[in-house]
């Protein structure tokens, strides 16, 4: 059933990583991605893998949860890896027909796979350890200076909040409407493309009508609770203050980048 889909996967917990300030976590994730692009050598990659594994263990979420997030990417990974292997310049190791496989190609493919692996793990780490609402809050605070140049940061974050709140409600509703139409003999599973598209009307029309009704009622309820649409004079229940933990985390990641830069000059058997 549709409602079994879990969105914005978040694993509640109490680890050091969970407790970090969400603003810091967003910055850390960005820095970490930068770090992954600095790394260019085998030694550097070994260092990056070790660092990633340390962070994963700090979240106390099993590694296999992170690997699960990679599954949908498997096809793209293999495809781009093959491209890298076959289309690269340098001395060919093996050559046949129009393909030539070079040592550089293999190296690039492996590095690229590792990089994507770690990228996915880093972003998963952010969403796994931060509830969607806290993440939205963090983003809003982080981007709030932009509102000075008329970027609607508050509006955007309110939209995110409401979307997060209503996604489960609308999924549940879709499920209900589908069942109700099935009870009237609606068939969503057979037939050609056009027939199937037509079969969606009995679901989509009630769903849209209901979504508009909800939006209307929600807007009234928000106004009744003194919402004016502007962020001026608004305060927040949850505030974030950077603690020693956050500062240490920032220093660690910045050091990692520095080390990665240095490691680029250390070569191991020429890799």
């Amino acid at each position: 059933m549709i409602k079994d889909i879990t969105l914005g996967q978040f694993f509640p917990g109490n680890s050091v990583i969970h407790k970090l300030d969400p603003r810091v976590k967003i910055i850390l994730a960005a820095l970490y991605i930068a770090f992954l692009f600095v790394v260019q050598t085998a030694v550097g990659y070994a260092f990056a893998i070790a660092a990633t594994l340390v962070f994963v263990s700090l979240t106390k979420i099993p590694l296999k949860m992170y690997l699960r997030g990679l599954k949908p990417l498997l096809f793209i990974l293999i495809f781009t890896a093959l491209l890298n292997v076959f289309y690269s310049t340098g001395e060919p190791l093996v050559e046949f027909w129009i393909f030539k496989i070079t040592a550089d190609g293999i190296k690039n493919a492996i590095f690229m796979i590792l990089r994507i692996f770690m990228l996915v793990i880093a972003t998963s780490m952010l969403t796994y350890t931060t509830s969607p609402i806290v993440l939205t809050n963090g983003l809003e605070r982080l981007l709030s200076p932009l509102s000075k140049i008329k970027v609607p940061v508050h509006e955007f974050s309110m939209m995110m909040t409401i979307a997060l709140r209503f996604i489960p409600t609308l999924l549940e509703e879709t499920d209900k409407i589908m069942n109700a139409q099935k009870a009237r003999g609606a068939d969503f599973e057979t037939g050609g493309l056009i027939k199937r598209a037509k079969a969606l009307a009995p679901i989509l029309i009630p769903l849209f009508i209901s979504a508009f009704r909800r939006a209307d009622e929600l807007a009234t309820a928000m106004e009744c609770r003194c919402y004016t649409g502007s962020s001026e004079g608004r305060t927040h229940l949850v505030s974030y203050s950077m603690s020693g933990r956050d500062v240490i985390a920032l220093i660690v990641v910045i050091c990692m980048i520095a080390i990665a830069v240095l490691l680029n000059y250390v070569r191991f058997f020429g890799f």
Binding site: R165, R225, C226, T235
Partner: protein, 280 residues
Amino acid sequence: MSAIITAENITFRYSEGKDIIKNLSLEIEEGDFVAILGHNGSGKSTFAKHLNAILTPSEGKVTVAGLDTSDDNNLAQIRRTVGMVFQNPDNQIIATVVEEDVAFALENLGVEQNEMIRRVDEALETVGMLKFKKHSTTQLSGGQKQRIAIAGVIAMNPRIIVLDEPTAMLDPQGREDVIKTVKKLNEQGVTVVLITHYMDEAAQAKRVVVIDEGEILIDGTPHYVFQNAGLLTSVGLDVPQSTSLMFLLRRYGVKVPLAVLTEDECISVLSDILTRKNAT
């Protein structure tokens, strides 16, 4: 006591439509618990929306705590004074975490953080949901969601709370919890206006105003109102079973009072006549 809400000869219609409220006048005292009873389409919800300026009268005047609802400059003050709770619990919860939803109005009002935390806790305590503070709002039952909505409103410390059919979509347990909460608020001094079509809920108010076709049909204490069983059924409403029973017994010549609403009242009347019977 003084009137905190006054509606003076109000008439309401949507642009070209027929009159939904017709020349209605009503005063509500501070601290009262008033049930507005009427069938679907009687105009009771339209009236409720006048109490915090979601709608303003086409003719006539509504004053809330001395503020004219038709004056746009009063809007912010009126919204703080009158808290509104609506029928569908799903469509009035804004945040995904209970405490953040309760804090929503306070955030809008710019309440300072420590004060906000205190008031959120207090409001959740009042509705008996404090232990759900950190829970996700989507996983609560209908009755729990509705109590969160009430908490979100009372956190503003309003003087009046208007509930527009808050129990229509709830199961019996949820209904009971919500009505208990409402009574508790009234005991704490909040003026309560409860819009409903359930007579058992209206019976628990201090005053019942029955609206039909946009006009006040009857107005008084629950005991007074429910004695008019014939009138109520003629406009599509019910009376409590206890009251029906008294009417039936009267018809058989048994001398019982008609103003019997609650279980306890009915039990005492019945045990009285049965004891008397045994004594003779």
